[in-house]
Amino acid sequence: MRVMRKVFRGSVGTLLVFLLCLPPGLVATPAAAVTMEELERQIQGLQKQLEELRQEQALQAEAQQVAAIEREEALIEQITPRFSVGGYASLEFEDFDEGRTGGGSRGIFDQQRFIVNVSSIVHDRVRFYSEIEFEGVSLISSPDEGQEDETARSGELEVEQAYMDFLIADWINVRAGALLMPFGRFNLLHDDNLRDLSDRPLVARRVIPTTWTDAGVGFFGEFTPTESSLVNYEVYVTNGLTQFLSSRGLRDARPSFRTDNNNNKTVVGRMGISPWPGQEVGVSGYFGKFDDQGDHALSGVAGDWTVRVGPLELIGEYAFFDVEDVAVFSTTFPRDLQGFYAQANLHFFPPFLKDTFLGRNFDSPTFTLVGRIGGADLDFPGTPGTFPGTIGAATGRDVDEERVTVGLNYRPVEAMVFKAEFQWNETNPGPGLTPLERGDAFGIITSMALGF
């Protein structure tokens, strides 16, 4: 094509030069005038041909572009793996005074967690997701290997999630495996790199035993009642919590994935209602038998909220559990447990820091100022119930612990966070009872977490 164009241009140019070089008398003759008309016609014809060639060339280029787009699309599908590996790691340093109840700890570096996520989309409608946690682990060994003091280096290796999804429709899908319990929102979004404070709220440790996983099966889905609103839900049948309650909450009652102490299944679920993007109110419920005989019920309700107004975010959670006839088992087990937290996050980034090391080359670096209040209250048999926040009013056997935290964190990118916080704790354990977490200790916690 290029050769043809060159030849064409060359012949037109040669013809014009030739005509210009002819003597004027020769051009003026009638015979020459005919020749000129002929030549004009020929030039016009050639111009037309040239235009057609150009159009043809444009069409070919467009076809090539379309083919290139198709190749690009096919390539993306080919090179995109059907699975992904990610996770996060966190390191914490804390320094607490002893307080009157001895809940302190002096200057400790804690390699809190190393989490590995493996997920796979087996088919457009079948997928798998897992989360494996190495908490404080520096060594994994079998007991037989019995080197000196290996236990001092051991930590916890735990499957936090491992489930399969069978997708049916937006509003209903099946999920089965080791599932995060949808009781409150914190348990579902507990990752260190997602949270704005290092420590988990008391309610999410002593009342809701985060990270709380159980083996089971159930449904999840979402639907949109109006253009801007969304309702989502998760509801599962699981083995349920066991009778290993303790005077410090439900953490020890978390089940194994292979046994059910009473062959009596538990139902747990959460429904979230979001009127607009970013705003959500959630209600959760739990009901199941917890004792080995399957005679006594453990029932719970929880509420959670997320409200966003510009850079301000208000989040929180309240949870309550009732243990039926707990005195039959032990007077050291709580009769009921309840707790809450309310947290305000203010996201900002001062413009004058944009060209410093804190802002340079980062797209959306963010500081977050965080304030949180919260507490947990465990009432034991033989005492009237109290609500968290009634420290000093306890008349019998209950333990109430409260916590106020103020912190600041910095995220150069969303996946990485540096956190620093001050924490004040106050507690009033009844006779024979111990504080839930940190007693009356005051301290600081700094940490960093990175998602990858």
Binding site: I69, S119, I121, L188, T224, S228, P311
Partner: protein, 191 residues
């Protein structure tokens, strides 16, 4: 009696399976094809033409300067929807990494340089898929380069899908910058 009740209860899984078999299926990764999206973006168009451009070094520099970061993309395709001689608008398809895998989405831009619509064509990860919801994507309508188009500023974040929100927001800004360099006039950019 008890045996009868137990036998009766044994039917419920079958009942659930039967009910679910009547539900129309949904796909997890691909939501719209490019053709379907173009029909959505340019309703009533008499023709839609694709124009692929290899950016000149100057154009590439301009894109990077506007976005404030290095951009690898050197070739961009814009679709233009026409109704007769009337230009309805532009659309382009971008791929941005969410957490680990690319999110494929189409951004529609009107002749004045404002976003008309954003749709997710394919979301491949198992978490964070809330960004494909229309109620979330509606936030981008009417945005131009004079706007922030950033999570936490003029785009409401979704907890648990933050990286996806960030990626789609960046992709929308990128589409507007490409459009501006190729077809538009330079407007002040908000950071």
């Amino acid at each position: 009696m008890l045996r009868t009740v137990r036998l009766g209860l044994a039917w419920w899984p079958s009942l659930i399976i039967l009910t679910l078999s009547c539900v129309p299926p949904a796909a997890a990764t691909t939501y719209l094809t490019r053709k379907e999206a173009l029909q959505l973006f340019f309703p009533g168009a008499t023709r839609v033409e694709a124009r692929t451009t290899l950016l000149s070094p100057e154009q590439r520099k301009a894109v990077q300067a506007r976005l404030g970061k290095r951009v690898r993309k050197r070739v961009i395709t814009f679709y233009r929807g026409w109704q007769g001689d009337n230009l309805l608008g532009y659309a382009t398809v971008l791929n941005e990494i969410g957490k680990h895998l690319p999110i494929t989405f189409m951004v529609g831009i009107d002749p004045g340089g404002r976003v008309t619509e954003v749709v997710i064509l394919a979301y491949r990860e198992s978490q964070g898929g809330e960004v494909r919801q229309r109620r979330f994507l509606r936030q981008y309508r009417g945005k131009a380069l004079q706007d922030h188009i950033r999570r936490g500023k003029d785009i409401v974040n979704i907890t648990g899908a933050t990286l996806s929100v960030q990626s789609v927001s960046y992709g929308v800004r990128k589409a507007l910058v490409f459009w501006e360099v190729l077809y538009g006039t330079k407007a002040p950019l908000r950071r």
